[in-house]
């Protein structure tokens, strides 16, 4: 079982970087915990009419982690899309029949580790590298601060989706 990361309440007066990393790591751990212990059919459960599933959401955040941190922050141009391609830019949300939650979770954990390595030593004011093809708007280069806050809210919003999916699947709630 993934341990819940240290509660951000433990750093109530810390500096900017500490607070942002604390909230992000906390939500990463909540996110992984929401998916643990599910069977493959459970991971494909929906709340209609929404098409969101636990499996799709886990795949999505691995793609997002890689794009923002390993590629744009770390500048690792060898890190292309994991699931998505030109034919289906949302293939992270569209797993094939044989794709599994086990593989998706392993991939997300690996990308989170790569993200931590990419952000080590980078300051909040540092700008993202404008690496093709993920810089869709020429010259659009957020700083790391924007990326960190964006990742916190993106994880949190998708945790909201996972909250309702997981509760429907087996009644589990909370962090």
């Amino acid at each position: 079982m993934t341990e819940l990361a240290a509660d951000p309440e433990l750093v109530p007066q810390a500096d900017e970087a500490t607070v942002l990393h604390s909230f992000l790591d906390y939500y990463r751990s909540v996110y992984l915990r929401k998916a643990e212990g599910l069977t493959e059919p459970q991971a494909r459960t929906t709340i209609e009419p929404s098409e969101l599933t636990v499996l799709g959401l886990i795949r999505h955040m691995a793609e997002v982690e890689r794009g923002w941190f390993r590629r744009r922050t770390g500048g690792d141009l060898s890190a292309g899309f994991i699931y998505c391609d030109d034919v289906d830019p949302d293939r992270d949300f569209h797993p094939a029949t044989g794709d599994t939650l086990v593989d998706a979770l392993r991939t997300l954990v690996a990308e989170i580790e790569a993200s931590r390595a990419a952000t080590a030593g980078v300051g909040p004011d540092d700008l993202m590298k404008g690496v093709p093809p993920q810089q869709r708007i020429p010259g659009w280069q957020p700083n790391l601060r924007w990326v960190m806050v964006h990742m916190i809210e993106e994880y949190a919003r998708h945790v909201g989706h996972l909250d309702l999916l997981r509760e429907r699947i087996d009644g589990a709630t909370g962090d």
């Binding site: 109530p12 929404s50 280069q141 809210e153 949190a156 919003r157």
Partner: protein
């Protein structure tokens, strides 16, 4: 229709970035609970007892708690009281048949206006809450929170509840997105 706030700017300093993200998610949330009637506001999904009316009441109370009562030590009363249980800490979610989404969203918008006024009066993100904030049985456990911490917390709390509201609203009338 409630206007969507501008997207947060991408190369700004800390305070501007945090305030822009918070205002953006306030506007996303306000749009999720706008344009629905009192029956739609009570729709639930899956096994959860969350609904849009409860969420709107909750966020109005969250605004008042963090920015009026905690940050500034205001003695503003609780927004929501359960008429059958005055000690109910979840009176926001435990609404009554006569409660309306119109009343809840009006309270939310008023609370947001009050929060903005109070935050603007603080010159530094290092300013701390006027009171210790911790669990009811140990209020001093975590001590005082900085305004920086409060803003990040409110961003993630709004975002998580926007995730709940996403699935509720899509079930109500098919509306998705921000």
């Amino acid at each position: 229709m409630t206007e969507l706030a501008p997207l947060p700017t991408v190369t700004s300093a800390e305070r501007q970035t945090l305030e822009e993200f918070l205002d953006y998610f306030r506007s996303v949330f306000a749009r999720k609970v706008a344009g629905i009637d009192d029956t739609q506001a009570r729709v639930r999904v899956g096994a959860s007892d969350l609904d849009l009316l409860g969420l709107a009441r909750h966020m109005a109370g969250v605004e008042r708690w963090w920015f009026s009562q905690a940050l500034d030590g205001s003695d503003a009363p609780e927004l929501w009281v359960n008429p059958t249980d005055a000690d109910d800490a979840d009176a926001d979610f435990h609404h009554q048949p006569s409660d309306t989404i119109a009343e809840a969203t009006a309270a939310l918008h008023a609370a947001i206006t009050e929060s903005r006024r109070r935050v603007a009066a603080h010159a530094s993100l290092d300013d701390v809450t006027a009171i210790d904030v911790g669990p009811p049985d140990n209020p001093a456990r975590y001590g005082r929170r900085s305004l920086r911490w409060l803003l990040v917390h409110l961003i993630e709390e709004y975002a998580r509840h926007c995730g709940h509201a996403d699935l509720l609203r899509e079930t109500v009338d098919g509306v998705t997105g921000d």
